[in-house]
Amino acid sequence: MTLLAVERIKLFSTRSPWWCMLLALGLTVGLTAIIAANWDGSPMPVMGAVFTHTFGLYVIMVMAALAVTTEYRFGTIKSTFQAAPDRTSPMIAKAVVVVLLSALVGLAASFGSWGLSWLLADDTSQLALSSGNDWRHVAGVGLVFGAGALLALGIGALVRQTAGAVSIILVFALVLENVVGLIPNIGDDIQNWMPFLVAQKFILGDPDPSGIPDGAGPPAIGELSPWGSFAYFAGIALAIYIISLVVVKRRDA
């Protein structure tokens, strides 16, 4: 319990987490506002309010990675391990704090986007959360942000440098996952298993048929069901995080 308080003090006594959280929130809600205001001709579906969550996800992952890499950058990780020499307990405490916080930001971003869509969209007849799927589209963003933060913490602890960790996350999510689709023959099959694309299926997959605008294809790819997709993404995040715990424990601080 005390270690949770420690990580909370550490996180909130510097400014960059605040900026990252505001940016994640502002980016997601702001872009949705533009989409909602310009949604003409058909009723805006619930899904339409959360297309932009990926932008917030990348920012929140940067925040999570920074929570570890700045400790290495400024040497405070050594003070941390001096105070808690088993190393695993402070790292877990950090994960609990960062993951919970990220999930909260995710919920704020998705419900904020959804709420704003009510105000800005012309036709809100399809915007009510009337099914389990609708709830998943919106509330699921919290889960994806939490899992993404865990993944970023693991990458940050393994790489130990801000620039390295942030480039790995962004290049993978924004470039690599899209480029693999261009590989002849097997590209599409590989793409179906790329973690960030699979995570999108959890949010956007299997919408209620009435929610899909006429003529639009399925909004997300992947072989798994939406919840299976989340389990896949969260599983990868957990695996990398656990590897980082083992490495951090063994490595010289």
Binding site: K10, S13, S16, F74, T80, Q82, A83, P85
Partner: protein, 302 residues
């Protein structure tokens, strides 16, 4: 209090610490002396469980650091004053440290007061001068009111006033019965601070003695002798002087405790040819450099 046995650390091919054994006693300031790169910081990191020894072990109060419960209450250390987030205030920095080991937050104000940082407690640590950073680091070390204190080159870059403050401060801590272990690469500094000295060179132990004894040994005049009949000369000198072989390759003797004239006459009387007979008078610092550079020599003399 601090006990190292056969402590060894390799970084790839670099041997940073090599089979080091020593012990540090309570109630005294013990200096940890060695030139740059001798392995002082590495040893201290191993004491704190930050780096794992390749071989050997080191204990604090008989226990592995990593097995200590609330270790900040047992060992306080300042290894690097820069290990602070520059955008965090001095107080916030100490607060999270205190919290982690269940130290009451009133203690944060106490240590801020002890090191004289109360006025600037709310300012971001990144804007601190070197002296203030060093004081903040010391405040962190004192947080848990620990019995064992460790400082790595605490006076580096400080002005004379700051140096004096730290020196007196360490004496006060030792007088209270605590174990104070402080590193430096300057013998002249340690001569005024430490009662005991652990001297290392290239990761190896050179000597562990009282500072007084070390200085006496180090500043003693020596004579360097080279001769084709070195073995014979060695026999003649045996019993009258302490003899050490200088760095193995150049085949000279380093003789302690006799005048050059004595060796010259002894050689002449016995028909020994001398190729070199040079008195070695050094300053304290030069003598120290000599000792740490030619650690082999000193071992043979001991």
């Amino acid at each position: 209090m601090i006990e190292a046995t056969g402590l060894t650390k390799h970084y790839g091919k670099t041997v940073a610490v090599d089979d080091l054994s020593f012990s540090v006693q309570p109630g005294r300031v013990t200096g940890f002396l060695g030139p740059n790169g001798a392995g002082k910081s590495t040893t201290m990191r191993m004491i704190l469980g930050l780096d794992s020894p390749t071989r050997g072990k080191v204990t604090v109060k008989g226990r592995d650091y990593r097995s200590l419960h609330d270790p900040l209450r047992v060992v306080g250390a300042l290894l690097d004053a820069k290990w602070v987030h520059p955008n965090r205030s001095a107080r916030a920095h100490l607060q999270w440290l205190a919290k982690s080991n269940r130290i009451p937050s009133r203690r944060v104000d106490e240590v801020l007061d002890i090191v004289g940082l109360t006025q600037v407690a709310k300012r971001r640590a990144g804007g601190f001068s070197l002296g203030m950073s060093q004081r903040l680091g010391i405040a962190g070390a004192l947080l848990g009111d620990p019995e064992v204190l460790m400082f790595d080159e605490p006076v580096n870059g400080l002005d004379p006033e700051g140096i004096l403050w730290i020196r007196q401060f360490m004496h006060r801590l030792a007088d209270e019965g605590r174990t104070v272990f402080v590193s430096s690469h300057l013998l002249s500094e340690m001569a005024q601070t430490a009662q005991d000295l652990i001297v290392i060179g290239r990761g190896k132990l050179i000597s562990q003695t009282s500072t007084e004894q070390f200085i006496k040994d180090a500043t003693e005049d020596t004579v360097r002798v080279r001769s084709p009949q070195l073995d014979r000369l060695r026999e003649l000198l045996a019993g009258r002087a302490r003899i050490a072989d200088a760095a193995a390759s150049d085949g000279a003797l380093v003789v302690h405790g006799v005048e050059p004239s004595f060796i010259g006459e002894l050689a002449a009387a016995n028909g020994i040819t001398l190729h070199e007979l040079s008195p070695q008078l050094g300053s304290l610092e030069e003598a120290f450099m000599q000792l740490t550079k030619e650690s082999v020599e000193y071992h043979a003399a001991d």
